[in-house]
């Protein structure tokens, strides 16, 4: 704990980052119920109203919908998807990467080849093509596809973490008392690799937000009127001159959340990985 505090003091940016993350988490959990406007409510007397007018804290879009409500509600879907995605891909990655790295040999070679193949398509392209071909996406398909797209990367991290422990003698010691593979993988090795894996999960979290936002921007994300931050940006790009807030605030929301999580992940890696 003292160490954490010491590192935190030398990386003071972690404090605003934590505040931002907490803010968005809070927004996602209790925010929507406390909004003055529903995220779909059309206030036709206030179309493209500047921030502050008509009780619209961040202004409205072309349909008179409250930007602030939409951003707050949007935090819910983006955080849900990103959280699930990072958890799923990490879970799948750990299982795959551990199995391959642990058994080595042909299984590993096959795994590496498969991962090579999977990683040959950038995750964004993969998700875009699949979502595009599927045509319509919802939280479930989006989560599933982004998770799959990210699994190879996390599997590699997990495999690397396992390999760094696999040849340490305590694993041999466990073998020599006849432990099962599962026990060795998950009881002996996993606790010692949890550091880099947690760092990976948080980094993946930031990437997932970027990915979901980018997919929304490309128009293959969630369906309107669900307020997807990336979609809000592209939706309102037309009125960037008339109502810049409609583009600016969602962009800021994405930027603040992703940067905060990246800072947090960076900080975590400094805490967890003991060097320097």
């Amino acid at each position: 704990m003292r160490r954490v505090w010491y590192i935190a003091k030398r990386n003071p940016l972690i404090f605003p980052a934590l505040i931002i993350i907490l803010f968005w988490l809070l927004a996602a959990v209790v925010g929507p119920s406390r909004m003055a406007f529903s995220y779909t409510a059309m206030d036709m007397d206030h179309q493209m109203t500047a921030p502050g007018m008509g009780g619209h804290f961040m202004g409205t879009d072309s349909l008179g919908r409250d930007i602030w409500s939409r951003i707050v509600f949007g935090s819910r879907s983006i955080l849900t998807i990103a959280l699930l995605t990072s958890l799923f891909s990490s879970l799948a990655g750990v299982v795959l990467g551990f199995t391959a790295g642990y058994f080595g040999g042909r299984i590993d070679a096959l795994f590496l080849r498969a991962m090579d193949i999977m990683m040959a398509v950038p995750p964004l392209v993969l998700s875009m093509v699949v979502l595009g071909v599927l045509g319509n996406s919802n939280i479930l398909t989006l989560t599933l596809i982004v998770s799959i797209a990210y699994t190879p990367a996390t599997a590699r991290v997990a495999r690397g973490a396992l390999l760094s422990c696999k040849n340490i003698e305590y694993v041999d010691a466990a073998r020599l008392r006849g432990e099962s593979h599962l026990y060795i993988m998950f009881r002996e090795i996993l606790p010692n690799t949890i550091g880099p894996i947690i760092v990976e999960v948080t980094a993946r979290f930031a990437y997932s937000i970027m990915m979901v936002a980018s997919l929304g921007f490309l128009g293959v994300g969630l369906q309107p009127p669900t307020p997807d931050w990336g979609m809000m940006v592209i939706e309102n790009k037309t009125i960037i001159k008339a109502a810049p807030w409609a583009v600016l605030y969602p962009s800021l929301a994405i930027a603040s959340l992703v940067i905060a999580i990246s800072l947090f992940s960076d900080f975590l890696s400094k805490v967890v990985i003991r060097d320097q």
């Binding site: 193949i117 040959a120 093509v129 045509g135 921007f217 994405i254 930027a255 992703v258």
Partner: protein, 320 residues
């Protein structure tokens, strides 16, 4: 012969990856819901028309026959014809767009590689100091911003407010991208933003780990001046992982191109892929996805070879 062996081995690996990937892409796209012939003709088409088109498109053949036909076409350089624009050979659109994207990618590389290496090295050497904190935060922030956010910021500042560069990257008819290099700047900068953070952070950490190594200690304790230590002893080793990262991320770069090209309306591979996806032009999707894969595979292979070439430990396998 021994010199070529890693090369040949790589080539084999590449081929396997590409074949596997092509099968995957083909199956993924072809087995998706929806009938291509129906898609061509629209919902109101008569069943006879659809059947006739199915036959003429060869859609009634088993899937492996179709794959074989498609793959052998690819090998012969025949990219097939667009589904959406009937009768238009994909090759007639595709290579031009690829060329444009490559120019864009190269320009982005030209921007971000030297920038991120210089700043990464600087941050690494000054690790823990203010310079490092500033560079690191800037790197993290730019890396964390999705391309379209940084792109919109750049667009608002440089195109809308200052009007230094065009907002959209359209090439006038009859001209090539080379006469219109100004349209490349903002898209290239957007890519630079993202890649800068990534590469400079890599460079920083590899610089730090090299600076902490025994041989740097040797160099310092040999009385080498700091300049020599950094540029002669450290940089050469610290660049190796960076080069790998840059090469490995060529694929990512192309992923980023989709967003950036869409944002700026740049007529490249990214916007082509995007429009192929939007119009569900399956043959075009397949070609685009396969090409992006190939870029990744080839650049990875080149990186590997380059890495081997730059790293004496691989170039001259050990004597002991």
């Amino acid at each position: 012969m021994t010199f070529f062996r890693p090369f040949l081995k790589r080539l084999g690996g590449m081929a396997i990856t590409l074949v596997a990937m092509s099968i995957l892409i083909f199956l993924l796209v072809e087995l998706m819901p929806g009938d291509a012939a129906q898609r061509v003709l629209g919902q109101s088409a008569t069943p006879q028309a659809v059947a006739a088109l199915r036959e003429s498109m060869g859609l009634n053949d088993p899937v492996w026959v179709r794959y074989g036909r498609w793959a052998s076409g690819m090998l012969r350089g025949d990219l097939g014809t667009s589904l959406y624009m009937r009768g238009v050979p994909i090759a007639s659109i595709f290579w031009r767009k690829v060329g444009n994207s490559l120019v864009l990618a190269m320009l982005a590389l030209l921007f971000y590689v030297p920038l991120s290496i210089v700043f990464g090295v600087l941050a690494g050497v000054k690790a823990g100091k203010l310079t490092d904190s500033i560079i690191s935060f800037f790197g993290l922030a730019t890396m964390a911003l999705p391309e379209f956010v940084s792109g919109i910021i750049l667009m608002t500042v440089f195109a809308v407010k200052l009007a230094w560069f065009p907002i959209t990257s359209v090439i006038p008819i009859g001209e090539s991208v080379w006469n219109n290099l100004d349209i490349l700047i903002l898209p290239a900068l957007s890519i630079t933003f993202v890649m800068f953070g990534y590469v400079s952070r890599m460079q920083r950490s590899s610089m730090i780990s090299v600076m902490n190594s025994d041989y740097i200690r040797s160099a310092v304790l040999k009385g080498m001046p700091m300049r020599k230590v950094i540029f002669r002893h450290a940089l050469k080793n610290a660049l190796l992982p960076t080069i790998t990262i840059i090469g490995m991320n060529m694929g990512w770069l192309f992923g980023g191109l989709i967003v950036v090209e869409t944002l700026f309306g740049f007529p490249g591979l990214g916007s082509l892929t995007m429009s192929a996806v939007k119009t569900q032009d399956t043959p075009l999707i397949e070609v685009c996805a396969l090409f992006i894969t190939a870029v990744f595979v080839v650049s990875t292979a080149i990186t590997d070879l380059l890495y081997g070439f730059l790293n004496p430990r691989i170039r001259y396998p050990g004597g002991s």
